[in-house]
Amino acid sequence: MTDRITQSMLSTTLLGDLQTITDKLTQTRDKLSSGKEIQKPSDNPYGTSRALQLRADLAANKQYQTNVSDASSWQDATDISLGQIGDLSQRARDLLVQGANDTLGASGRASIATEIDQIIESVKSIGNTQYAGRYLFAGSKTTTAPYTPGGADAYLGDTATISREIGQGVQVPLNIDGKSAIGDGTTAGSLLATLRKISTDLKANNSSALQSGDLATLDTALDGLTSTRATVGARTNRLDTALSRLQQIEQTTTGLLSNTEDADMAKTLVDFSQQQAVYQAALKSGAQVIQLSLMDFLR
């Protein structure tokens, strides 16, 4: 419907077109150099909110992985300590069986009692094992040594549970408190009390106790220790599963984030060369159209 075309129309249209193409070229170049599809929220508001969510998920996931690794190391340290206690208790059992033999006599039993006492000290010092500066078996009183080597058999920790979060709202108990695993001097039937009783019975040359009750009590205590170790093992398994699940989620989330945020390089490059070609064409044709006028032909 435009009937007259004037010089200024030609030049403003050309300028406008060139500006549009340059604008597009700049955007594409930004995408290429940053590798990001979304430079600022208005490029894709929905994509931005998705990217923010995915980034937050990713950060939380990494933190959960850290939590799981920390919990796993704690379990490993606990398991090693419980293993050592198990070995010591097994040795104590062997000694008990040996000491129960009446042919040994009071002096023989006394020397076995000395070894049992050594075992008790070792168990107590293992009960004081630290992991990253914290007492493993002190319940939540992680800054207090739960046992006093060379002193009374009292348990100085508490029985509180320490938990780690391994997913949104998912917590796993972390610690085995010393009272349930090792016990103290006053709780009859606990490992520590049993060992102490064996030592006392050996020293008192109490054949009947050594031959009848003590072995059964120690076996029960050993069973308890084994089941505690099984608990730790089960936790380790759970943590391993959680870690591999978290890693899988991380991979998926990273992929999704990249899909949302990152530029499709092949497509962007093709766009870029196309826009460049259009730009050159516009410049060439523009330069010629603007130069021409009737003046060039009038003599």
Binding site: T6, T12, G16, L52, Y64, K141, N175, E261, S293, M295
Partner: protein, 454 residues
């Protein structure tokens, strides 16, 4: 009735003069080909009054320029100004929102959303090692960074608000200055028209001013009541308020009665979008900071610190201006051991730290978590800015198209002017030739007639 011998000379002279005026007009057009707002002019020719040459009839007496016509379509002007108003409004919105959007710096590894993630992760890290002063220190630092990030964002929003208010003042001054210029041009136009002249170039200048004005606000132009339309007296209103009436300009002050488009309306909308207490960006940011501080503080008070004492305030805020004032409580900055991570009073318990970390997934602001509320704010700013960009590019292309249409009617075509020049130059030559013929004829009569036999 006799015809003067010299009539032909007069006719030829009128021809010469008219062609010359036409060539002058073409020259004026060419000279103003790039002048903003210039409307091309055309010398309109008409035959002069014929002479009675009874009984033969009427003898033509040549040509005269009756007017220099200004070629302009006022309907296109109205359309163009309507779109210019939309463009002005969209441009102002786009400028303001773009600045807000850039200050967000999202999505990135340094924006508030990633600071939030780091803050929550620090609580988790504290939960992993509640006894450690190092993790406590790290938590205090990441909380301080988060508070700082919110402060910076709030202050950047405020800066945009302040700049926008300043812009409003400048724009209003522009409006008033244009009003004064329009009024004085109207005075000049009226006196020219009273003297019977057609002040084309003054009308062009006034139209340029009205064009400029329509970028600043919604403008309406009408003929001054009681004044004949031919005299060019106009009333110009902006934002529903009379700015110029005939030759009197008023000095306007904000707020204007009904501002619906143009730069002033765009600036006003930026102020509303950012600054409104509850629904504006600043309001939402304040809600977010308030919720973060309140929830963290409430939970923090339920726990105990390393010494077994109940937790105090974790964040401090000033009500009503939360985002700009949120900070980690100075006592905690000084000694991170005061962070109440424990729920049972023992150093190894990290129940409270976990409870605070779990606030990340708790809906606190109208069904949204703090992270979600922030991401909603970002999305809102993003889509507002996108919308402003789209309406700007929409209005821009309409303005471009209409400008082209106006140029098609009023713009100078050099080709056309060249053709005109050639045409009138030939007309001039031919008129001069006619004059020569007359001259020779009279020469014949005066000098050579009646000399038989000399």
């Amino acid at each position: 009735m006799g015809i003067s011998t010299f009539l032909g000379v007069e006719t030829a002279l009128r021809g010469i003069l008219a062609q010359q005026r036409a060539i002058d007009t073409a020259g004026h057009n060419i000279a103003n080909a790039s002048t903003v707002g210039y409307s091309r002019q055309r010398a309109d020719f008409a035959t002069t009054t014929p002479m009675d040459d009874t009984p033969s009839g009427l003898l033509g007496t040549g040509v005269d320029v009756v007017q220099y016509q200004r070629l302009r379509d006022s309907f296109i002007d109205i359309q163009l100004r309507a779109q210019t108003m939309r463009k002005g409004s969209a441009q102002a919105q786009q400028d303001g929102l773009n600045q807000v959007e850039l200050s967000l710096n999202e999505p990135s590894d340094t924006g508030v959303s990633s600071l939030l993630s780091k803050y929550w992760a620090s609580w988790q890290s504290l939960a992993n090692a509640p006894e450690s002063l190092a993790t406590r220190q790290a938590l205090v630092q990441s909380a301080a960074s988060l508070a700082n990030g919110l402060n910076t964002l709030a202050s950047q929003f405020s800066t945009v608000l302040a700049q926008t208010t300043q812009q409003q003042g400048i724009t209003l001054a522009q409006v008033n200055s244009i009003g004064t210029q329009i009024a004085s041009l109207t005075g000049a136009i009226k006196s020219a028209q009273l003297a019977g002249a057609q002040p084309n170039d003054l009308l062009d200048k006034r139209d340029v001013l009205i064009d400029q004005l329509s970028e600043l606000g919604n403008v309406s132009v009408s003929t001054t009541a009681g004044s004949p339309g031919t005299l060019g007296a106009i009333d110009v209103s902006i934002g529903g308020t009379l700015l110029v009436s005939d030759t009197t300009a008023s000095t306007l002050a904000l707020p204007l009665a009904s501002l619906t488009s143009g730069k002033l309306a765009g600036l006003q909308s930026v102020l509303t979008t950012i600054g409104t207490a509850s629904t504006g960006y600043i309001g939402k940011l304040n809600q977010l900071a308030a919720a973060l501080a309140a929830k963290t503080n409430t939970q923090h008070a339920l726990g105990t610190d390393l010494a077994g004492a109940t937790g105090g305030a974790f964040f401090t805020v000033t009500a009503g201006n939360e985002a700009a004032t949120i900070a980690v409580a100075p006592a905690l900055l000084a000694s991170p051991s005061l962070i109440a991570a424990s729920l049972n009073g023992q150093a190894g318990n990290s129940g409270n730290a976990l409870a605070i970390a779990d606030l990340q997934g708790t809906a606190v602001i109208g069904g949204a978590t703090i992270d979600t509320a922030y991401s909603q704010l970002v999305t809102q700013i993003g889509s507002d800015s996108q919308q402003a960009q789209q309406s700007l590019s929409n209005a821009s292309s309409l303005v471009d198209a209409l400008t082209n249409r106006r140029q098609s009617v009023s713009g100078v075509s050099l080709d056309e002017e060249m053709a005109t020049l050639v045409r009138y130059q030939r007309g001039f030559q031919a008129s001069a030739r006619a004059l020569s013929a007359m001259d020779e004829m009279i020469d014949q009569l005066v000098n050579r007639t009646g000399r038989v036999g000399l």
